[in-house]
Symmetry: C2
Subunit: 122 residues, 2 copies
């Protein structure tokens, strides 16, 4: 996380190691069993804790709490506490996280083509 790690697209593409590191940055932000469902749940609207929990049936509060903290630390999610009774806490994607949508689109597209390509070979 040091400044020296700041590299440009060109530099990263030219050097395989920098390339892998930079792509890994993205990968880390969405890896794990629950990050994608959580991001998916927040893609179109803000939500509260219990709200997300209901939206992702099998997640435990422990995991949801942990992953939300993780996402917050990585600049993916903004957490806002409202002093109501009972307390309400709202989670929403940051602007940067919303841009991830484009990447996910590409992943979706490739995933579908790859499935067709590999099934075709059987």
């Amino acid at each position: 996380m040091e400044i020296e790690n700041l590299i440009s697209f060109k530099e990263a593409k030219a050097c395989p190691i920098q390339f892998v590191l930079a792509v890994n940055d993205t990968l880390n932000v969405i890896s794990g069993k629950w990050k994608l469902p959580i991001i998916g749940s927040l893609l179109f609207e803000k939500r509260r804790f219990t709200d997300i929990q209901r939206n992702i049936p099998k997640i435990t509060p422990r995991m949801l709490s942990k992953e939300l903290k993780d996402l917050e630390m990585n600049g993916m999610v903004k957490r806002t506490v409202y002093d109501t009774t009972p307390i309400t806490v709202e989670y929403e994607l940051t602007e940067s996280a919303k841009l991830l949508g484009d990447v996910l689109d590409k992943m979706l597209e490739w995933g579908l083509q790859h499935r067709e390509a590999t099934i075709a070979k059987n």
Copy 2:
């Protein structure tokens, strides 16, 4: 891996669950500590086992072997055995795997912008 899982891009984008499933397909193919380095190592040329090992200094043969099998099973890598002495085994990316390059480009691009965006907020 059943036919019923075959869905279109439009269907997948419309339905959050299908969306997450299809993106996960892509994610699974590149997740784990060593898949990206291995794919990176094979992006521009075919390589042999020991060759890849030298290219990725800290990988153990156990991990390399396991991940290569995994990648082969997922239609990412083609393995060819040559009956020389000693035996040579060549690994190369499939056509479908090479297309993943575009996705990785997007991930690289987003990773760099995200890093700048989150550093800017400190």
